[in-house]
Amino acid sequence: MTDHAAAVPHAPAPLGGRLVTPVTVALAALSLAAAVVLVFRFVYGLGAVTNINDGFPWGIWIVYDVMVGSAFACGGYAIALLVYIFNKGEYHPLVRPALLASLFGYTLAGISVIFDLGRYWNFWHIFWPGYAQMNSVMFEVAVCISLYILVMWIEFSPAFLDKLGMGAVKKKISRLMFLFIALGVLLPSMHQSSLGSLLVVFGSQIHPLWQAGYLLPLEYLMTAVLLGFAVVVFEATLVSIGFKRPMETPLLARLAKFIWGLLIAYLVVRIGDLVLRGAIVNAFHVTLESFWFWIEMICFAVPAWLLAAPAGRGNPGRLFFAALLLMAGGFLLRINGFLVGYETGAGWHYFPSLPELVVTVGMISFEILAYIVFVKTLPVLPAQSAPH
């Protein structure tokens, strides 16, 4: 069967190979450390392991694990948009690996929410008529992310339904796949923008450099797609190096053209808003906020320069560096908006505790571990046409 699949160009096939390697063992150890911290969290409460407080009720378990984590998991969304909506079939080989990374990213972001919810045993209230409060941005985010996780598992199911001997189900799902693909583009558009809308109700508690009001959803949506593409470049490069496969540079270089266009559009919106609101003056005051603002802007501006010319886009090193910077920029936009730029009153401080960081690192490790196991055992990555 694998031989047959390999005969079809770009058809995905399992990589095979050993599952127990020094890398996977290290990743498993880090995941285990996170699990230990989480036991303490559930026995002794959030305060026992985190530094969150009433001035910073949201720490990195929300702002990184959920907000940045889900934005980093937008590869599947961004590629689906390109392949199925803009009909750019040549990017098809990127679909499955990107979708798999998104699947893990989102599933873990969803699970992380439970770790952070103080009264997690009530979480089902969000979906329950009578409790559900539809004016809440949080309601929209929670429902939309949950549905998207479900949709992604369905989108990915053809990769494992065959293995489970459920060919009939696979056929049925394949017939409706266009609908799941459409939902798989709609839902992230909704909740990734809403993650920005969460800040609207905070009003003047958010520093003017990040309180973009009605433009917040647009800015968060644009950067989510940008991050999605950047992560695809990042992952494709790492997979090529890590699994000793040929680089997909020509394909990624073409993708980089889209990234560049979207990046310019984002910069116009972001800077235009700051200028129109007059908030830009804050960037020239010497404050912690303005410092982090400039770092964030540099992370977006340098890729705009790196990817401007075809020569830059065709250079795998430059491309990878630009992707890294974009990921850092999207990370900073969220960290700055929700933590650096948040102030509810004087005298509050927050910096993540060691156990908080252990959980976040552990979650990332678990995600990479699961990704490695999946691509080795399931048809995810395109089979290599020429035998080595």
Binding site: A7, V43, G45, D54, L117, I181, L186, V200, Y342
Partner: protein, 329 residues
């Protein structure tokens, strides 16, 4: 669909989004109930005895709080409201602290507790209706059995009021609920009930506003009478001297209005109260959400376009793959 079509569509979507932000479609600000209940806190009458803090603890069955470095913890000594403390009296100090209610070289007391906003951010933020506003009394209440502990209310409140018990295995939100649990016994807010000077006064917000207007109209230094406890309740008034106020009834206009209103001799900014716009951010947030998701019109229209494009492009691909697969067989 080619790129040009998509851009046209995006523009149309943008126009709809802009329409969503149009004031004509905006979510209206909530207005205050004629029977709304609240507190009038007069900083110039407060003597800082903290009887209110103690009575609040007792009425709400909250545990005492000790300063981290206290060697012999004998009494409750909260510095701020918290998961264990619903109200505190804090002090403003400047320079030599000679004179009460004076900004320079003076001092002043200030109460901190839930403002019971007319249009509260916490209610707009809460995804599970755990925060509720009583349609008659306007009291902003919290139902811990509905709460999922997401703390969006804690982050959203501009006054930093809802607090959370992070140190508990099974934590909960705490906030002042104006002693609504005592009302069935004919009682009212414990803080106002015990206040010896009437600095914290309970009553209908409309009456409290009248009382505030009366005080502000008095020439400073003139003789007057101050009610205590509950406006409209048994007469517990006592004679006093009119104070010199800053020209500001805090909570009258701030953030769409609040049901705890305050008078002081020192600017409220110095007393730790934020300078807020006249409209609640809940209005803005809900206007945005209604504009984007009202009737699910935009999401469904977008889904239709996406499904159409996906259907066409996925089919092409299947056929292509089958063709190619067939050739290779």
């Amino acid at each position: 669909m080619d790129r040009r079509d998509f851009f046209k569509l995006s523009l149309a979507g943008g126009a709809m989004l802009a329409a969503g932000a149009d004031p004509a479609l905006a979510r209206e600000s909530r207005t205050i109930s004629p029977d709304a209940l609240g507190l009038l806190y007069d900083s110039t009458l407060c003597v800082g005895c903290k009887a209110c803090v103690s009575a609040c603890k007792e009425a709400n069955d909250m545990p005492p709080e000790f300063l981290p470095k206290t060697e012999q913890p004998y009494w409750d000594e909260p510095l701020d409201i918290s998961g264990k403390t619903l109200t505190v009296i804090r002090v403003y100090q400047n320079g030599t602290m000679e004179k009460k209610d004076q900004e320079q070289n003076g001092y002043a007391f200030i109460k901190k507790s839930c403002m019971h906003c007319v249009d509260p951010s916490c209610i707009s933020a809460c995804p599970v209706s755990a925060m509720q506003k009583d349609p008659v009394t306007g009291i902003v209440s919290h139902n811990k059995d509905a709460c999922i502990g997401c703390r969006y209310c804690v982050a959203a409140c501009p006054f930093g009021v809802p607090r959370f018990t992070y140190d508990q295995t099974f934590p909960q939100i705490s906030k002042c609920q104006l002693c609504r649990h005592r009302m069935k016994d004919g009682k009212y807010s414990a803080c106002a009930e015990v206040c010896p000077t009437g600095a914290t006064l309970y009553g209908k917000v409309s009456d409290l506003k009248q009382e505030a207007a009366r005080r502000r109209a008095l020439p400073p230094g003139s003789a007057t009478v101050y009610p205590r406890g509950r406006l409209g309740g048994p007469d517990q008034s006592y004679p006093g001297v009119a104070a010199k106020y800053v020209d500001h009834l805090y909570g009258e206009k701030e953030f769409g209005g609040t049901q705890m209103i305050m008078l002081a001799g020192v600017p409220f900014e110095k007393l730790g109260y934020p300078d807020l716009p006249p409209r609640s951010d809940a209005v803005k947030s809900e206007t945005l959400q209604h504009g984007l998701y009202g009737g699910m019109v935009m999401p469904l229209a977008f889904l239709g376009v996406l499904a159409y494009a996906a259907k066409r492009n996925v089919k092409d691909e299947d056929e292509e793959e089958e063709r190619k697969g067939g050739r290779h067989d």
